[in-house]
Amino acid sequence: MNEEKELIRRFNAGQPQALHCIYERYKVALSRVARALLNDPTGSEDVLHDVFVQFATQTGRFCLKGSLKGYLAICVANRARNVNQQGRPVDPERLRAARTLHQERNHPVQVAQRSELLQTLISALRQLPEEQRQVIALHVLGDLRFREIAKMSKVSIHTIQSRYRYGLQKLQARLNGELER
């Protein structure tokens, strides 16, 4: 936490190295959250770009109560929601290419067995209401606590927990008996 405060202090002092450190530290988790929340996961880099450019404009006056990672993750979630609302058509070829690349790179053997299950899960996640999808992505993939999400979203912690619970239930219902396999 002290390290984060020092980073923010250096960031406010206008040191680009501090911005680089922040980016390097959180880019993986933020990219993961963006991919989960975007209808078109290939746009995750654009979302990260927009979030960090917007963050950079706040140098000299950035003040934060809470974790920097939580703040940036919420920014990514909000930006992803805006991009989804703009309703850019998803190019199925690009989507397929991205998924194939990911599958070949990470799971060359198991991909055949679990591919269908994962595709169903991703599809089910995309069909969840925006709020539930956001809480699941931030908690599961961004490793944020419910309290942190509630504070950043300015919603009560009970609401956040309910959204998470209902979201998981819907995913379970969608996957049906495939989880038993």
């Binding site: 404009t57 140098t59 998981l168 995913l171």
Partner: protein, 182 residues
């Protein structure tokens, strides 16, 4: 492992930790750094200008400033109403100066006026040649006194002038001793 845990595990598997590509990293960091430098420079410039705004953001300071302005306005208003002539401060001062000046010149006070005296030479009035000629042409007391005064005067200033023909004429400016009479 219950169903919820299984779904969480599947979600993590579906969205593995992936680093953005190197090109993307460079693009994001370059753009963000550029914006950061510009914003920082702009913030620095605004810093001095926003000092007064920051002071006034405090409600206590703001209230104190408003009270001071209102109080000053009332004070200025009553000052002008309290003046019997009803004039402004500058006009009051001018009136006072004019009244003092009148009192000096109409009363019995001695007024010393300091002034600059510009002396213009009277052409040929004290020219020794002319004085001699005058004395030669008519020998009388006046011409003799004029010549003797020219010789005997203890204070004076010699100067000369040129006439329209270019001839030189010597002059003597006599300063009369006030104690000595003529």
């Amino acid at each position: 492992m219950n169903r919820s845990d299984k779904i969480v595990e599947l979600l993590r598997e579906a969205f593995p930790e992936e680093r953005p590509q190197t090109g993307a990293d460079e693009r994001i960091l370059h753009d963000a750094s550029t914006i950061m430098k510009q914003s920082h420079a702009a913030t620095k410039q605004q810093h001095s200008a926003s000092k007064w705004r920051r002071i006034m953001s405090n409600p206590i300071t703001r209230s104190a400033a408003i009270i001071t302005i209102i109080f000053s306005a009332f004070w200025a208003y009553y000052q002008s109403v309290g003046n019997p002539t009803g004039t402004t401060t500058v006009l009051s001062l001018l009136n006072a100066a004019a009244a003092t000046e009148n009192a000096w010149f109409t009363g019995e006070q001695t007024v010393h006026i300091v002034n600059r005296i510009v002396i213009y030479p009277q052409h040929d009035a004290n020219d020794p040649d002319l004085l001699l000629k005058n004395l030669e042409s008519s020998y009388n007391d006046a011409n003799l006194k004029a010549l003797s005064r020219w010789f005997s005067t203890p204070r004076g200033m010699e100067f000369f002038s040129l006439d329209s023909k270019g001839d030189r004429h010597n002059h003597h400016l006599e300063l009369v001793d006030p104690q000595g009479g003529d």
